[in-house]
Amino acid sequence: MGGISPDKPSRQQLEFLGYLRPVGRAGVRNTLLVLGINGLITPTARRIAQALPGCKLAATPYGRGQLGPDKDMHFAQLVGLGSHPNSGATLIVGVDRPSADAVAEAIAARSGKAVAIATLDDVHEDALALTALAVRRGGELARLLSTQRRVPVPVAELFVGIECGHSDATSGLVSNPLAGALADRLVDCGGTAVIGETLEWLGAEHVLAERAIDGVVGAAIVEAVAKRERAVAALGVDLLYNNPGHENVRGGLSSIEEKSLGAIAKAGERPIRSVLAFAAPPPCTGLHVMDGPGFSPESLTGFAAAGAQIMLFTTGPGNSFCSHVAPTIKISGHPATTERLAAQIDFDASPLFLAQASLAAMADSLFDYLLDVAGGTATWGEIFDEGDECFARFGGSF
């Protein structure tokens, strides 16, 4: 329990104000989710969401022509987002009734929450009639979830996804170690954390594997990286300027190994319990890694589908993108960034870069802020609605 400073022995007893759910972790928000499950009706789902103020829209551009692992991964994202604890109820907007029923049944089984369905099948392919039907059903759900109230919930119920985007040298020096120290504190309290983006373990996978709970998990970490490295090699391309990208190189990062060694600092120092498949919920509390794409919008959707209620998102020069269903705390340790992007960066880690504060003290204050956000304090991304969900394809992005 090295992550707990002796002057704060009561962190494990801490609570946040959350929304209890019939099954699983409490929510830190209580919104209606409009879930578009087929790209054919995405414009309709968008219109429906516009007619339901305060709801969140997650709409896939896909939904047909997917087979095997691709279909399974797509379904896992739909069901995961539909079951997300921050949504008090889910309105499924679909095309054919059987697919919508399958998604609805899986969401109800996993989350026990209220689910309604509206499909083109119900209205003889009339998208305007679908709009009217879905808005009415969505309104009923919104009224139902408005009756729910926040109650004290143990901090152990928190599950945090940790992401980095537009990294520079300050990420590996300051903001990623800070996110890692936060993960350590949360895990020590019985909570759960995940990092993803397999390609950004490349060159650092031996370090991560040493932290695995056993040899099986360690070997899975190494193999997940090897699989993607083989795929890159098979394409006959070089990772430079893809990953690390142009903004990484501008910030001083010269290779994927350098970026990865900085990136894994956000996993803290606790044992890695499992390698999660993309969008898969963790089988137990503690620290996990998710085998997923290195594009942060997709990675965040994977964490959200796994059930993470809050995201920590570190950046060097700034990055406005947020999860849609999970409040996303933007952290930068670059003094110029935190000054320039005062209405984007939620947590200023530059005192750590300037050696004006200790890592432990900054991690304690980030932990306090995490509980504030869990209890309802809005992030900049929520205020300006910078969130979206980005569905990933099997074998798609690296």
Binding site: G203, E229, G251, S254, E257, L261, G316, F353, L354, A355
Partner: protein, 103 residues
């Protein structure tokens, strides 16, 4: 960047080696002239061949072509040319060893 008594620049270092065995240091601000590199508890002074932008790397020792470039105590790539101490280390004189089909 604000300066105060507590900033690394004001207290005597403007670059740091993350791990004591690293062959490169990270500039903590835009530096020219000489870098004062914190390596563990010691300060190593390195004359710079050219200005180093904040966040970028400077060589602490001579790297032969093909030699390891080390940061975080790990290899982050190899030198693609001879790199003298105090020189900027970046994509023009080092390369990844991973994820490269042409390597």
């Amino acid at each position: 960047m604000a300066e105060s008594e507590n900033t690394p620049g004001a207290t005597g270092w403007n670059a740091m080696a993350i791990h004591p065995h690293d062959s490169v240091a990270v500039a903590l601000r835009d530096i020219e002239g000489e870098a004062r590199v914190r390596v563990g508890d010691a300060i190593q002074v390195v004359r710079l061949a050219a200005p180093i932008p904040m966040g970028h790397k400077l060589a602490l020792s001579r790297h032969e072509t093909g030699g390891d470039v080390r940061k975080y105590g790990q290899r982050i790539g190899v030198a693609t040319a001879v790199i003298e101490p105090g020189h900027h280390v970046h994509v023009h004189n080092m390369a990844s060893c991973r994820g490269r089909s042409g390597a």
